[in-house]
Amino acid sequence: MARKPSDYQSDIWNDWCPGCGDFGIVAAMYRAFSELDLPPEKTVIVSGIGCSGKTPHFVKVNGVHTLHGRAIPFATGIKLANPELTVIVNGGDGDLLGIGVGHFVALGRRNIDLTIILHNNTVYGLTKGQASPTLRRGLRPKALPKPNIQDAVNPVSLALASGFTFVARGYSMMTEHLKELIKEAIQHKGAALIDVLQPCVTYDNIHTVEYYKKRVYKLEDTGWNPKVEKIEEKEEKIVKAWMKSQEYDDKIPIGVFYQDPHTPSFEERIKERIPSYLETPPARQKIEREGKTIIDSEAFRKIFSYYIVETE
């Protein structure tokens, strides 16, 4: 019996501001999880800190609400210790691209099979609307005392430059579309980013529902093919995707920008070195026998013979 979207709804009262785009994201997650029929006990949502950081409490799968900026490394440990888990990261733009941006880049380099859902609301929601790293220079959402004098980072471009092998953008108020992106990202074997445009109704009076309604269009409607069909195509595709990612003013493309199924995931790279890795990953190994270590004196001498000198 397949699980319904509502089976993933937790009983916790959701305290996001009424109308917040985060509701659209969590709604898309319920639907995507249901369509993929993810077993809750084998699914983990890892989040950072911020309004977005509360996401795991609203979903009935394992939830790990971590530290500001650190969701990716927590998720890295969870996924690598038990690769059979489906691990999804929800983080704010401040969280993932400000304080935690080093981890974001590192994830691209590793291509771990994680899905990153970036709640891109151009502000620091939970600390009262300061500029986030995705807010463009010169803009002044209402909480800012002065216009922003720092330039914005483009999440899609950065993900491409970092090595993410699935890079997409969604819009929180187009839930069906976003749901499809989430499904694809989860099914993709490697690091996946979904940059989700998420109106913050309380602090961002610029990037409103109206604003996005006028600008957003779907890449797939233009015949865009994000997929690296053959590895030789990688360079060309990544350049095209990067150029596309620069389009961000009058028209904002959403959809999958880039997908490379060829670059091995980190899990596959580990398996190259430790062939038993996927069958017996760290979390599933037995390390004791009736309270005793599995390495007894004899095994110890054999394993560490390099350090042992037989005396004269």
Partner: protein, 101 residues
């Protein structure tokens, strides 16, 4: 436009999420007195329209219960309660809101 329709059946009609007795017309962008006869911008908020909105944006919000609505079944439970079609931008909220985490 039919005769003598009440404004609160309109799609543009919303209320302040914290003070539902303050009625707002999103279209005019102003507080309106209640009850009031619908104006010529009236768009009837039908069940079908709500369902459509729910499936597109993924959620609705019941102001009376302060809860998001994610599916038709839930929507039905809140059917008689006030579910705005749109939210207005509260310009003062940021000055009034505390911060967290």
């Amino acid at each position: 436009m039919g005769e003598s329709v009440e404004c609160n059946k309109c799609l543009h009609f919303t209320v302040h999420p914290s003070y539902p007795y303050i009625v707002i017309c999103v279209d005019l962008g102003q507080v309106v007195a209640q009850p009031r006869e619908a104006c010529r911008n009236y768009v009837s908020k039908t069940w079908d329209r709500l369902i459509k909105q729910l499936s597109e944006s993924g959620f609705l919000y019941c102001v009376e219960c302060s809860r998001p609505i994610f599916n038709e079944e839930e929507l039905r439970k809140h059917k008689t309660e006030f579910i705005p079609f749109e939210f207005f931008t509260d310009e003062v909220a940021y000055e009034e809101a505390p911060s967290g985490d």
